[in-house]
């Protein structure tokens, strides 16, 4: 090592600490950033002069130099180099976006993009360079290259060869040098650079390493030449191009694909094709977190990958699937992977993505249908490797049905958004236990059981960054105490948090406060950053609308959003609760005279127009034509909330994702884990409130910082949004809205409360940034809650007295209302105990499915193993009594509380917590009877069919434990009383009345909570029980052919849940919607005659059961013309060699359209061959494909890769 290297590092580090600490801006940097925002928003700017700009440029140069020092001495992976590159990129970006006249000879944007790329901020590089409007061809080409957009690079270079035919001939470059012209060297350099960039782009996406090496060597030589002969800036640009190219080579997905392929050479070509397809999707260059993940994948271990959503972790999961399902030899076993997602919406997204990438290799099925298994579950019998995508609830239900079968095939567990295992440390988080609705506990329980039963499966967790989940999740997944998550440093986007200040009859103002979690000040603490928006102030609202400050505030947000959206910005208005109220306010605002001047929304043309029409039709179908949903959609506003029917929700998501609707109004359920592009998120409230009728007091639940962070994380995906940063603005009124004296004080108080909520949130966010390892776990919190209550109500202070209490206490002893969903303190404690029993008993049953007898000692032993697999142990915060509590409760359950093994088995299969399950068991036979009696359902009238559902519902109506449960409000009680009206509307029974817009959501909530969920669960529990009892063999594979015989039920039993889900009485309609054969229920109904006609030809006299037999539906579907377009066969084209000897036999070529022919070029611009092309079949779009010239006796060209139409 050269003697002075330590000194050089010290110098570089000095610059880093002064200018480039992550998340720490100097005063001048902050000013530069604010100025760039102000200029972008076209508002007044802070004072700034030329020397400020020159200072920033000089700092950027210093940082680039410092980064080089780190790289030279510490290597490419140097964290400190990354810091310097990133900040240099930012400084240059801010100058560029300010349209500053301090320029360099090379466009400063290119230097910024390259610095981002070298700093591992690929998305920032693309975000910046992607929105440039460059004039010159050179910078266009360089920008495409720096972004890693190799398809675009080839478009540019091939256009160049099109214009410079003389340069396509062999030896043409050397001939330039022989010319007698003064500029020959200059021209030669330019031509060679274009050759090298084109060849590099083509070779890296093909994985053609020998040619890639040649291009890289040329780039290096050109760089060496440039540093000696060009100006400092231009040589810097060439040098950055060369360095970026080296990174690309290092980070090419082909490296990982080849390494994986070594595991199973037969699959190598498939892996290479996978890699090529990734390049085609713009994901061929791996991000550092992905590389780290794939390195771990190769090392054959389980791991947690910790990156923000949208940073490419899906790719790691996908290759994990490839490795475990396709590359490994599992002998006779057809392997299975379980992919856990936090929401049904995300299941759909993951399924779509996976299918497009691996649908040809794997069966990919999203288990988010109504039934625990259904007609689409052909994977059970198939002999292809399978990926099941499911929410933990769904996976849990499936396990109760098919555990032995699943466990025998399961090889890989992927847990997406694994940080959701962290419980919410709030009152509502604790009361979730008594409600049996704690998702975090369910996740902990499910995964712990799975790891206990299948300790050898590979597991991969994908998790978000903040909140301290990464460490414990990694330890949980790897099962070792020293595990740590990979990729925690990655922050792919820039997020700004602040306030939208609304005021009566004044312009709104943006106040920017945090950038990437750090305070953003212009100078000192007293000078916050204001952007005074130059959109017109909203006209005074009518007095009745102003009487609510919240209404005024939210309508002002909409007014602001409508104006900002006009500038191509995508906006989310995020609501904490009562979306129907805001939606109503919004729908009414559009009727105001002052709003009539707003431009009308024009739906797009083409495919997007069709999608819009489909979504609107689904909205009309499920919500009614006068609904707020439809009225807002007509204004270009998409809506989404948790109670929306699935079908409408998915279509709304498509409208948002494809940027068809510029504005979205939604509750937080929209953004749970789903990636949607927004530039700005407006938050209208930071808390939810409800009223506890028993305690006669409001229950206020503020946003947790995790919730807020998840929300703000959706803002600003570079590349898909317009700006470089996502803005999350909390709307706060700065004046009251009313002029009525009686309301003024109330509004003043509300205004203060909103401010206080925001202040509290900021403080929480600040603390959260500092948080390292989370130590809270669901199970520990549940036990802590029990212990707390035992002390409070029973005075048990010591470990031992608590454990003794826990060993003997039964829910029914604590409260007569146990298991009924009552909200009194004692009842809640009883239900919390029942929740613990659910955890323990589910584990015991599942761990001993194949054992008959279990005594207390065996139970303890099993639980001791399970305990080691809990997240609680991984979170490393456990105290000794926690484990004791589980073990001793387990022993008590077997010995005293639920001593009957048969009963335990049944309770397990129902899926309720055991105490609730016992109560459910009393009505289960009645449900069975109702299902069994429905043998004529296929022939019945809609009225008769509806009666069957009414009868089922009546069994559940009175019991809050396992039955219907509504909030304790007057409105909800009325809905419960008239629930059959809701049923009739939802199931589209004749005479069912569409609710008024303002009442819609309360009814949707009833449908979602009680018809789809609680009634569905009850039916599912009974059907599962019948199946298991009938099947005998725990490894039996369910099949439609066996279904009736095994369960002893008519097809109605199979369909009931699915019908509740789709809102139809006709199984055929549910089938047609589930299979995507129809977009609305009306459309589906219209298909029925065709089915019946087909059935009449198949069967002489179809019975009632034939009419709803899923096997017949499938048979009918198979008779329809295939929707899959046949893949065009690739026929080699004959070619004539025109620029090659053919000595190399095989050449990579690209097409260039000529006159009646196609010219085949090497990507370096040399012409190699020509083929006739009378019909002009080739154009620029074919440059996205790969072609190979075979120089045999008859030369031919063959397409070896075609870009998928689905990008």
């Amino acid at each position: 090592m050269p003697e002075n290297d330590p000194q050089r590092l010290e110098i570089a580090n000095g610059a880093r600490t002064r200018l480039a600490l992550e998340n720490e801006l100097s005063a001048n940097q902050a000013r530069s950033y604010v100025r760039c925002l102000q200029i972008g928003w076209q508002v007044d700017t802070i004072g700034w002069n030329r020397s400020d700009s020159e200072g920033q440029l000089a700092d950027a140069r210093s940082l680039l130099q410092a980064a080089e020092i780190f790289v030279e001495i510490e290597g490419h992976q140097s964290r400190r180099a990354v810091d310097c590159y990133r900040r240099a990129g930012e400084l240059l970006e801010w100058l560029a976006r300010s349209e500053d006249d301090v320029r360099t000879i090379a466009p400063v944007e290119l230097l910024a993009g390259a610095a981002f790329q070298l700093g591992g901020l690929t998305a920032m590089a693309s975000g910046l360079l992607g929105q440039l409007d460059l004039e010159e061809d050179g910078p266009k080409l360089f920008a495409a290259f720096i972004q890693g957009d190799f398809d675009a690079v080839l478009l540019h270079t091939m256009a160049f060869w099109g214009q410079n035919g003389d340069l396509r001939a062999p030896g043409s470059s050397l001939r330039i040098l022989e010319e007698d012209r003064d500029d020959r060297l200059s021209w030669y350099f330019t031509v060679e650079l274009i050759r090298a960039l084109g060849l590099f782009a083509d070779s890296i996406r093909r994985g053609a390493d020998d040619r890639l090496a040649k291009a890289a060597a040329k780039l290096k030589a050109l760089d060496s030449m440039a540093v000696r002969t060009f100006s400092d800036d231009v040589s810097l640009l060439i040098s950055l191009l060369r360095q970026v190219a080296e990174r690309f080579t290092d980070a090419s997905i082909y490296r990982s694909a080849r390494a994986l392929g070594e595991l199973n050479p037969r699959r190598m070509s498939r892996l290479l094709a996978f890699a090529r397809a990734q390049f085609s999707r713009g994901r061929g260059i791996l991000w550092s977190s992905q590389r780290a993940g794939l390195t771990r994948l190769l090392e054959n271990s389980s791991f947690a990958l910790c990156t923000p959503t949208g940073s490419g972790k899906t790719l790691v999961a996908n290759l994990g699937l490839v490795k475990e399902l396709l590359l490994r030899d599992h002998g006779e076993v057809v392997p299975l992977a379980l992919y856990l997602v936090p929401s049904r919406a995300l299941a759909g997204e993951v399924e779509a993505k996976l299918t497009s990438e691996l649908g040809r290799d794997l069966i990919i099925t999203g288990l988010y249908g109504g039934a625990d298994w259904g007609i689409t579950d052909y994977w059970l019998n198939a002999d292809s490797p399978t990926v099941l995508i499911a929410t933990v609830e769904k996976a849990d239900a499936l396990m109760r049905y098919l555990a032995p079968l699943l466990l025998s095939r399961l090889k890989l567990l992927i847990v997406d958004e694994a940080h959701q295992v962290l419980p919410e440390d709030t009152e509502s988080g604790r009361s979730d236990f008594a409600d049996h609705s704690s998702r975090s506990l369910r996740l902990e329980s499910f995964v712990a059981r799975l790891l206990t039963q299948a300790p050898d499966i590979v597991r991969i967790a994908l998790t978000a960054v903040a909140g301290g989940a990464a460490g414990p999740v990694a330890r949980w997944m790897e099962g070792t105490a020293d595990a740590s998550a990979i990729g925690t440093h990655y922050r792919s986007t820039r997020q700004v948090v602040g306030v939208l200040e609304t005021a009566s009859e004044r312009r709104s103002t943006m106040l920017l406060e945090l950038m990437n979690g750090q305070p953003l000040y212009v100078q000192g603490r007293d000078d916050p950053v204001y952007l005074n928006l130059n959109i017109p102030p909203m006209a005074q609202l009518p007095a009745q609308m102003r009487s609510s400050l919240y209404r005024f505030n939210q309508v002002t947000v909409l007014w602001t959003a409508l104006h900002l959206a006009a500038a191509e910005r995508r906006i989310l208005i995020s609501l904490a609760q009562q979306p129907e109220q805001t939606m109503g306010w919004y729908a009414e605002s559009f009727d105001l005279p002052a709003w009539q001047g707003l431009p009308a929304f024009v739906p797009p043309e083409g495919r997007n127009g069709e999608l819009f029409a489909e979504a609107r039709a689904a909205c009309v179908d499920y919500c009614g034509s006068d609904s707020y949903e439809v009225r807002l959609l007509d204004r270009g506003i998409a809506t989404s909330h948790g109670q929306m029917p699935q079908r409408v929700r998915r279509q709304m998501v498509a409208l948002i994702d494809r940027k068809i609707c510029p504005i979205t109004v939604a509750t937080a359920t929209l953004t749970e884990g789903v990636n949607l592009p927004f530039d700005i998120i407006f938050v209208t409230s930071l808390k939810r409130s409800a009223y506890d009728n028993v305690k006669q007091q409001p229950v206020i639940t503020p946003y947790t910082s995790a919730e807020f962070r998840n929300l703000s994380g959706r803002a600003g995906r570079p590349g898909s949004t317009r700006g470089m940063e996502g803005l999350t603005l909390v709307a706060l009124p700065t004046t009251i809205a009313t002029t009525a004296p009686g309301q003024m004080q109330t509004q003043r108080n509300q205004m203060d409360a909103l401010r206080a909520d925001y202040a509290a949130l900021r403080e929480n966010l600040r603390r959260d940034e500092l948080a390292d390892n989370a130590t809270l776990s669901p199970l520990a919190m549940l036990l802590g809650e029990l212990r707390n209550k035992a002390r409070l109500y029973f005075g048990h202070l010591t470990d031992e007295t608590f454990l003794e209490w826990l060993e003997q206490i039964e829910p029914g002893e604590v409260s007569d209302d146990a298991g009924t969903g009552a909200t009194g303190d004692a009842a809640r404690l009883a239900d919390t105990i029942d929740e613990l029993d659910a955890f323990v008993m589910t584990a015991l049953e599942e761990l001993s499915l194949l054992d008959d007898d279990l005594d207390g000692a065996q139970a303890e032993a099993k639980l001791a193993v399970l305990w080691q697999n809990t997240f609680t142990v991984a979170a490393a915060a456990q105290e000794a009594w926690l484990e004791d509590a589980i073990l001793r409760r387990g022993r008590a359950i077997i010995g005293e509380i639920y001593p009957d093994a048969d009963e335990r088995r049944r309770l397990y299969q129902y899926g309720f917590s055991p105490y609730v399950g016992r109560r459910f068991e009393a009505i289960a036979p009645a449900i069975v009877d109702l299902l069994a009696a429905a043998t004529e359902y296929g022939l019945e009238t809609p009225e008769q069919r509806l009666e069957r559902f009414e009868a089922l519902g009546e069994l559940l109506k009175e019991d809050r434990g396992f039955g219907f449960r509504v909030r304790d409000t007057v409105g909800d009680s009325e809905i419960l009383d008239a629930w059959t009206d809701v049923l009739s509307w939802w199931m589209r029974a004749p005479g069912g009345e569409v609710p008024e817009a303002g009442n819609l959501r309360a009814r949707q909530r009833f449908v979602a909570d009680n018809l789809e969920f609680r009634l569905g669960v009850a039916i599912g529990a009974v059907v599962a029980q019948k199946w298991t009892a009938g099947a005998g063999d725990p490894l039996a594979v369910p099949s439609l052919a066996e279904w009736k015989a095994t369960t002893g039920l008519p097809w109605f039993g199979f369909w009931a849940r699915e019908l509740l889900r789709w809102g139809t009485l006709d199984p055929f309609v549910a089938f047609a919607l589930a299979q995507g054969r129809a977009k609305t229920r009306e459309e589906a109904e219209a298909l029925r005659p065709a089915f019946e006609e087909w059935l009449g030809e198949e069967i002489d006299a179809p019975t009632s059961e034939d009419l709803i037999d899923p096997q017949q539906f499938l048979g009918w579907e198979r008779s329809l013309p295939s929707r899959e377009r046949e893949r065009a066969k690739v026929v080699p084209e004959e070619a004539e060699l025109t620029g090659t000897t053919g000595a190399m036999k095989r050449y990579n070529v690209l097409p260039m359209a000529g006159e009646d022919e196609v010219i085949w070029l090497d990507a370096s611009g040399y012409e190699l061959a020509r083929s006739p092309d009378e019909f002009g079949l080739y154009d620029q779009s074919d440059l996205a494909n790969d072609y190979v010239l075979n120089a045999g006796v008859q030369a031919t060209v063959r397409r070896v890769f075609a870009r998928s139409r689905r990008r």
Binding site: P2, D5, R8, A12, R61, R103, E136, Q163, D182, R228
Partner: protein, 317 residues
């Protein structure tokens, strides 16, 4: 990779040129007049220095040209060699730069520092830069150029530890005939029409402007440092670290600097022997930079012939 390591041909210089040095405080002036005709001996005395100065660039040019991207190419033979292939005008520019190096190493300048040029930067590709951005060969087209170009010439004074004590940077220009108007254009910028007065005036972007307004770490230092890092990172470790300080540390204690202005070219009848083109008695009023200034005037009788003679003789055998 090669450093420039050939000592200046002092005997030949003494034979060839007559020196008229003068000093005034921090200002040094050196007038050099040609003393004898240029012959083959003179040329062959100069050639080793020129070859040494060009060796590094030559190596990279050849390497670059040696990489032929046609897929059939295996070991192609570039027919041309560097710097022979350079156009005549470029040769003259390079000649000025090499001579600046040779004179800086061979004569005593203001401050009596021992200057060394570890590696020569030759920056002559303004048209190449225009082509690079246009992706088109359009000799007429001038690209609007923002920002500054680097100095023509950079040399270092190293102490015994190899650390940089001071650097010398500046402009080195060759003009065929050094008439007063030509020199004025050089010093004050080319004449352009003033839109208001309609008069033709110097645009103010000449050598004085370049030198006076140069930044503390002139462009070119970064490139020089990169070459040192590539060529001899151990030998120049101390110098490399010092340059890092200059390039990275804001408001670093500036590296002591000497500015060099070297004007070379053919004599003009208007000049009397021993008379300088730029006043030598005291620092010219146009010079406003705080650093030492060394002006060198190299007045030749048959410079054009010498340049072609030297360049044709490089690597001739």
């Amino acid at each position: 990779m090669t450093l420039h390591d050939c000592p200046p041909p002092k005997a030949a210089l003494a034979r060839w040129l007559t020196a008229y040095p003068s000093e005034d405080g921090s200002y040094g002036h050196l007038l050099l007049e040609q003393d004898c005709d240029c012959d083959d001996d003179m040329i062959s005395d100069l050639v080793p220095y020129f070859e040494s100065a060009h060796a590094d660039a030559r190596e990279f040019f050849h390497e670059q040209m040696g990489i032929e991207l046609h897929p059939d190419a295996d070991a192609p033979e570039p027919h041309i060699t560097y710097p022979t292939c350079l156009p005549s005008i470029t040769r003259r520019g390079l000649f000025g730069e090499v001579m600046a190096g040779m004179l800086t190493e061979g004569f005593e300048y203001i401050g009596k520092h021992e200057w060394t040029i570890p590696v020569f930067l030759f920056r002559f590709h303004e048209d190449a830069e225009a082509y690079l951005f246009a992706l088109a060969r359009d000799e007429e087209r001038k690209r609007q150029v923002y920002g500054r170009r680097g100095s023509d010439f950079i040399g270092l004074a190293l102490n015994e530890d190899g650390d940089i004590e001071r650097f010398i940077a500046g402009e080195a220009k060759w003009r065929k005939k050094l008439q007063p108007a030509v020199v004025a254009d050089l010093m004050y910028g080319e004449k352009k029409k003033n839109k208001e007065t309609g008069e033709r005036e110097h645009d103010g972007k000449g050598i004085w402007f370049q030198i006076n307004s140069d930044i503390p770490a002139p462009h070119g230092l970064r490139q020089l440092q990169r070459l040192l890092r590539e060529i001899d990172p151990d030998g120049y470790s101390a110098a490399i670290a010092k340059l890092d300080r200059v390039l990275v540390v804001r408001n670093a204690e500036p590296l002591p600097r000497t500015n060099l202005i070297m004007i070379s070219g053919g004599d003009a009848p208007s000049r009397k022997s021993k008379h300088p083109l730029i006043p030598r008695e005291e620092v010219p009023g146009n010079y406003t930079a705080p650093h030492d200034l060394q002006v060198v005037e190299l007045i030749l009788n048959d410079g054009e012939m010498l340049i072609d003679g030297v360049y044709d003789a490089l690597w001739a055998t």
